[in-house]
Symmetry: D2
């Protein structure tokens, strides 16, 4: 039984805490949050205590740390947990600044703790099955990968301002998926982007609609498209073309119901947003983290993956501004 | 917090025990099974004790009884639980013999305990959404209902011999779905059946392929088709035609993956069998039972529903043999 | 080049005349219709002449006769064409009265002309592919066949009165499909039917919603469902379950367009009605008729198929009234 | 009745000749081809005569010219037909060289003949319905357009050598679709490309896998992906995301048949290649050309569209080599 200390009691923190509570090999021991009410409510729901960072990290009974607090606290908390020699699961990103992220990663690497980053989509059952079939050669040599990722609606402007921009905040997930599925590193990044959904997003220097093309050393091509708005729900699809066929992971719909009427044949919308769509992925990533701790093997997705995705995000941002491909 | 005593530690019992353990308002206190090893293993997994029927039912701390033992024990256990004034959730059927089932139901009714029957399909999210849309008039007046229900493969012959036959063992679920979705009682039953999947099933006097037509007083028609074998997995579909359109609940597939190759475009098979297909339904029926206990309202599906489904099963069996419609 | 004399210049006659005109081995020579304007218009469109039955059938240049006039004229025209030794393509049915149909068939058989009946659905590319795969053993032994056939809306009441009733007028097509796909004759017919769509249909003694179950000597089961109204368009589906899998022929949609919006994912409706849905089938049945004439082989679907379908329709009508299976 | 002179009796010429023959307002009068056997066979099939260019273009009875000969003959034939004041339908492209194409277009413009270019995909019923719905504001403001276009297999290397390269030969269709659907001109082109399908294609300096991003002045983004090989058939899809929803035109499948078995649920492959997939489009583009001649209105797609698509192709080729966006 691994006792967790969790930082962050907000929306995503509540998901993780619930999964810890349900896991047969884990329990939630301490909740830390800058908002005492939030911390208290979450702790009580799962029989945990409210604590502060220093005490919690010093507690020898704490066997793992889960960081789901705001992005600007990640790097410092990872370092503190690393110095306390606790395995860490950290929501992405380590930091929006690549150098800061790298510095944090260096600390964790030096201490040698398991550090897992919350690229949850790798643990979605549909995507992980697609990944397995790629590796099992179902479509032969991968030639073109297409990742479509659209949110149901844009976040509040205050969030946008602090988010680091679409490439670092939203497409970062897709860069990680691309690296994972391609199985090789992109060497060239081209991007084009616009603010079409909401001109206020453009007003603060960000974009809401973007297309990126990646190319690997072997010549494999990958497209990623992002939009901050899809009125039909959270659009999360992957398509892989290979020498022997094509694989697609389609959207997960709200139910299997289908209505036929005068307007046509209507199936349900995709699950609304990430909490619903990736509910299983959140459970599976926690399973993986706990297995990694128990087996003393490194997690499948670590701090270095966060840094590499950030490198791609920065390259895409640059390319979208200069109109030139960025070589890596 | 409601303490459960559960009878039966087999395959379906393990599902129910797991759901009780996960439920925030319930805990598993006692497990009773004729197989001591099975009882012990299940009790240990969920921090419960092994017990015997008499002691468990006399335990004032036990607030609910879940019966998942073999069919021939259901009626006696329901009666014993009723006499102990415990709310009962019983796997279907109360009894394969309609008179015995009715007698058992009479006892429960007289005592006045909540008695819920495990017609799990009513709690499947897809089917319950279809039901809601029927009641919300999405397709207007219901004219024709089609229920397709096929198992991935036939059960062992030993099971078939004791099962009461396809109509009572397998189609019983579909009769309950039909009654629930039609919203009125069938008044006529016509059936045709064959042993096509396995002649040994015919050899013991049963069938494995059957078609039933129900008609209500209002003239609404309903078809049910059963087969003991579908090589492509558990086939569970419902289609409802009304004056304003058609609703269908399609199969739940193993994933959203789709492969395109020389043989065509291949999507995944339906989830293999009832444990996978109805995992959510098992959770939701337990939720409903606990809500019924707490709210002191009768469960949505009770003993009388079991008896009425059995009446339809017996009528179908008779019609399949005589070639005459049975009027109810 | 085969010169056709065609009887009937109405809706379905216009389809056939157009196909004759387009066929490289055929031309339309004479059009006969009780309505001179209709005959003239159709003849002019395709460079044909208006004629009368006697002259046209006596014309040695006429190599084939196509009968698309009203049902009550079919039998007499077939007999007249037979006596003139002309190959005949006749729209179904030969006659609504089985004895009259048989008498007509006897004449044609005695003379030995090729007589093809317009069961167009056998020539639909989707259904004929399904038929081929059944014969090629793709699903092993056929166990259960399900035919769904629903019109977009009921015909005028005046048509209903003269139609012979739903079983003889509408389900007749499905009986033919069932016989063709089953590959063996049904030996038992059970039916249930209601007037739900329009009470006026019930008022003239007909039904608009019906379910039939057929059983063959080998025990294979077949269900047919008909409705005179499907608000979403012409619903024409076939499903075949066998020992090795299931085959389905789904509806043909108006286009491949799909719209995703707040109401869900909307695909197009099925093609509206038989003229659109079976456009290819009408072409292919003419091809087949011309090939039969040229190769001197009997057409795949002849007068006897019309009589047998009618036997099933009459049995279904009887069963729906008596509530007893009719054995054939 | 318009008499056509057609240049080219090869594969695509046979399609056009057949459509002319079937058209109620057109007939094929003269066939011209460098291969006398091919010209004779095609002429005989449709009751036309074999001719030579000079005589045919001088024939006052010839009311329209259809050019389906090899690409290198297009520009000269268009000019000759223009000088003879005949309306011209020309298979794309006018010429692989943009200056030559422009010069040819200038001649046609000066003379003032109707000149229609064979961008057949605009006349596909699915794509034209999508176009109509875009213009009818079904998805609001168009934000992102995705065009997927993959051939079933690469052409012979000899063809590749003379083709002008993937961007000019294959993606040219997609550039035209993009311009048509976007409703505004792209101002920026970025491209990435590889030879992955066949290294011999790379060996002759061409590519077989390519991704292009277009951006309009309004910021709308468009992606085009091409591959010379899709083992599952001709993959022709369009997806349009707008402020109010998404429209997709999916592949047209060989039939509606669906097989469910141990490997999953298998639907049919897309129609194999352009002759099958765009059969209706070829008919409809001829209809449009004839309507344009009759109504004296310019065809929807003319020589200027050919030149503009070529500009995009050249920009994409340059971008794929330099790694820089090309501004137009």
């Amino acid at each position: 039984m691994i006792s967790f200390c969790q930082f962050g009691a907000g929306r995503i923190g509540q998901i993780h805490a619930g999964n810890i509570a349900l896991h047969p090999k884990a329990r939630l021991k301490t909740v830390v949050d800058v908002n005492p009410q939030a911390a208290k409510a979450l702790a009580e729901r799962h029989g945990a205590a409210v604590g502060d960072a220093g005490t919690a990290l010093a507690d020898p009974d704490v066997g793992a740390v889960l960081i789901a607090s705001s992005t600007d606290t990640h790097a410092a908390l990872v370092e503190a947990a690393a110095l306390a020699k606790k395995p860490v699961f950290c929501e992405k990103p380590l930091d929006l600044d690549r150098k800061r992220a790298q510095a944090c990663l260096d600390v964790a690497t030096k201490v040698g703790i398991p550090l897992m980053l919350g690229f949850n989509r790798r643990f979605d059952p549909n995507f992980s099955k697609l990944h397995k079939q790629l590796r099992d050669d179902r479509i032969g040599r991968l030639e073109m990968l297409t990742i479509t990722s659209r949110d149901p609606g844009p976040p509040p402007l205050d969030y946008v301002k602090l988010s680091g921009g679409l490439f670092r905040d939203m497409m970062i997930h897709d860069f990680d998926m691309a690296r994972w599925l391609l199985g090789e590193e992109p060497v060239q990044v081209m991007a084009a982007a616009s603010a079409l959904v909401d001109s206020a997003i453009g007003g603060v220097g960000d974009v809401d609609t973007a297309v990126v093309t990646l190319k690997t050393a072997a010549g494999t091509l990958c497209q990623i498209t992002n939009s901050r708005r899809a009125t039909y729900g959270y659009d999360q699809r992957i398509e892989a073309l290979g020498s022997k066929g094509m694989l697609r992971a389609n959207n997960v719909l709200e139910s299997t119901l289908e209505f036929s009427g005068e307007a046509g044949v209507v199936t349900e919308k995709p699950l609304h947003f990430f909490l619903e769509r990736y509910a299983a992925a959140y459970r599976h990533e926690l399973d993986h983290f706990i297995e990694a701790i128990e087996s003393r093997k490194p997690p499948m997705v670590g701090g270095v993956d966060g840094v590499r995705a950030l490198v791609l995000a920065e390259a895409a941002l640059e390319s979208s501004k200069t109109g030139r491909a960025v070589d890596l």
